[in-house]
Amino acid sequence: MTERDTSSLPSPSWGGAGGGARSERPRAERKGDAVRPAAPTAPSPTLPHEGGGSGHADTAYNFAYLDEQTKRMIRRAILKGIAIPGYQVPFASREMPMPYGWGTGGVQVTAAILGPDDTLKVIDQGSDDTTNAVAIRGFFARTAGVTTTTSTQDATVIQTRHRIPERTLTENQVLVFQVPIPEPLRFLEPRETETRKMHALEEYGIMHVKLYEDIARHGHIATTYAYPVLVDGRYVMDPSPIPKFDNPKMNRSDALMLFGAGREQRIYAIPPHTDVKSLDFEDHPFEVQRFEEPCALCGSTGVYLDEIVTDDKGGRMFVCSDSDLCEEQRAGQPVDA
């Protein structure tokens, strides 16, 4: 066997989806690989997002990693999702260079909507500094060269896992959720063939029965995160595993909310100013979590708190889950949370 020079792998940037690959021009020419056929060159539309951004994108990859054909496919799914609020649109999710379950859906949505002038914030559990948020932010800093920020108000695109920022989002912002299991009915009915029918027929009885049984058994609805919502009076939707504390922030939000589930190959959306109602009963209205004490670091109240174990003798302290909010508060900046 002859050893090939594997230090010069064919550039991923010349990839394309389906037959459309032919219309993509390689961004960076491949070097010294005799095995593969030459990349097709014509016709060659100008790739968008050439240059731009404040940082320096790694030019071995197309802007934001995905090739333009794939982004177009994802954008079509996003547009369909926006047109049918809360409906799960199947899309041909790609295998990303990060594991399924670690935000591949959110990453693909972000890659498809990101432009060179965007400012990106990535949070996980409300914090910019958790390792997976750091890794995803680094991924886009490298492949798109966009400006990144930890400041909620400076961001135009915010990718999140498990939280909605405390600061009210504006119409100039898009919130991208990473979704593990997009199907709100999944744990009641494991079969996709069945749940799709149930959505089509607006047959949500089993969800109400489940919530009712919670009340009958525990006196409460025992769902505390990934609490199901009804979007625009039509589709029951899983808001991703955010605490139910965050559910009211989705209702008539000024910001566009996009949800990406990579492994499950689904995209869905809540357009701005859409009614989003958490499921409940007249005699058991929906309630959010309340914390008895303020944040131990910044003193904020009415925000979601993380519990920190301080010793092995029952010592606890509660601090803001939204690390940007906490820092701003401590720096004395006014916040309209």
């Binding site: 594997t6 064919p10 991923p12 899309f91 790609r94 058994r217 595993p241 190959q265 993380d306």
Partner: protein, 369 residues
């Protein structure tokens, strides 16, 4: 005491640097080369190519090296790379009857045209550790013979001429060839999509499911009609020329299971087929695939659905080890927020139960009781 979690970036960088060092291992030991992996760990490379869905020995060997021998991690590296490659089209169906045979066995006929050819196999080896291998002793050169050039027809074709086995369904030549990696999988999936999913499915998962069919969970009474391993030519139809041209050869393992079938309302008594085809040399995977493939065909053959291996949605949704490992391992990502939400609920319910005890002296009764 609480320290604000900062500096994730440095921690990640250092972790990866340590990983690279551990991958290298003791630096007084020579660095393993890709050709060593490709030649001497050939079956590991085969598995990475098969489940990575990319036929490239060099890249698969690189992936095995980079993944420190963790084959699922190596498959993941190959998949992530593969997805960036353009798709030019589909090849013509591979003609396995014209395979250049390295191994070919049939469990249904003692002798048959083309003969039984054991080839390189672990079968019949005594599984005794071989101390001389540890000393790097060279094995003797293999025996060689002269190729007869005799045709090696597929066993299922031999059965087919007698009309004893169901005909191989012919694909509509005008139908577009679907691609599991470029469209979302929806159910019911047609047979070609099922076969694609099984071909890249996890060997261990398919092995267990195939095994379950043998133990009575959707038993399909299988015989190994034939297993063949060797090189097949891959041809693509060149529009400009108007005919097909070979673009290269791949090693593949094909397993055709011949399954007893007593007949149903939908199909007469006959032998039925279960099919397995895998990149490289992997009989275990090809056989498991053939068993599961046959089990999944219950509906078209009018059988009863009773077992997991027959359940298309269950099998195809869980066969992919890259999805499975990602989602299982994502549990190690932080879940502070959801956990906090659950803590709050459990504490509140405890408090309420306690209050209930104090007021009426009885624990809260569950509605279901």
């Amino acid at each position: 005491m609480y320290v604000a979690v900062k500096g994730g970036e440095t921690a990640i960088r250092n972790a990866h640097r340590l990983l690279a060092d551990e991958r290298r291992g003791d630096r007084s030991v020579p660095d393993i080369t890709l050709s060593q992996i490709s030649e001497q760990l050939a079956l590991a490379v085969d598995r990475v190519m098969a489940e990575g869905s990319l036929y490239d020995r060099d890249l698969a060997a690189l992936a095995v090296k980079q993944a420190r021998g963790d084959l699922i991690e190596a498959i993941f590296l190959i998949r992530a790379y593969r997805t960036t490659l353009p798709r030019f089209g589909a090849s013509e169906p591979v003609d396995t009857a014209a395979m250049r045979i390295r191994r070919r066995i049939s469990a249904t006929y003692k002798d048959l045209p083309g003969g039984q050819l054991l080839g390189p196999t672990f079968d019949y080896t005594h599984r005794l550790l071989e101390p001389s291998l540890a000393d790097g002793n060279e094995p003797p050169e293999p025996e060689t013979g002269v190729a007869t050039g005799e045709a090696v027809p597929r066993v299922t074709d031999l059965l087919g001429t007698e009309g004893l086995i169901e005909p191989d369904p012919q694909a509509d030549p005008d139908a577009e060839i679907r691609d599991l990696t470029r469209e979302p999988l929806e159910f019911p999936a047609d047979r070609s999509l099922r076969l694609q999913a099984l071909a890249r499915g996890d060997e261990g998962f398919l092995l267990a499911l195939g095994y379950s069919t043998q133990r009575g969970y959707a038993r399909s009474h299988p015989f190994v009609g034939e297993i063949r391993i060797g090189e097949v030519e891959v041809e693509v139809f060149a529009e400009e020329l108007g005919f097909s041209v070979p673009i290269g050869r791949i090693t593949a393992t094909e397993c055709q299971m011949v399954n007893q079938f007593k007949g149903s309302a939908k199909a007469p008594p006959q032998f039925t087929r279960g099919y397995g085809l895998v990149f490289g040399q992997s009989e275990r995977k090809a056989m498991s695939m053939a068993l599961v493939e046959r089990a999944l065909r219950w509906e078209e053959l009018g059988e009863e659905q009773t077992a997991p291996a027959q359940d298309e949605e269950f099998v195809l949704s869980h066969a992919d080890n890259i999805r499975a490992t990602g989602f299982v391992e994502h549990l190690k990502l932080p879940h502070y927020v959801d956990f906090q939400a659950e803590l709050e609920l459990v504490r509140r319910m405890h408090a309420e139960a306690k209050t209930g005890d104090e007021t009426d002296g009885t624990p809260r009764q569950e509605a279901a009781e």
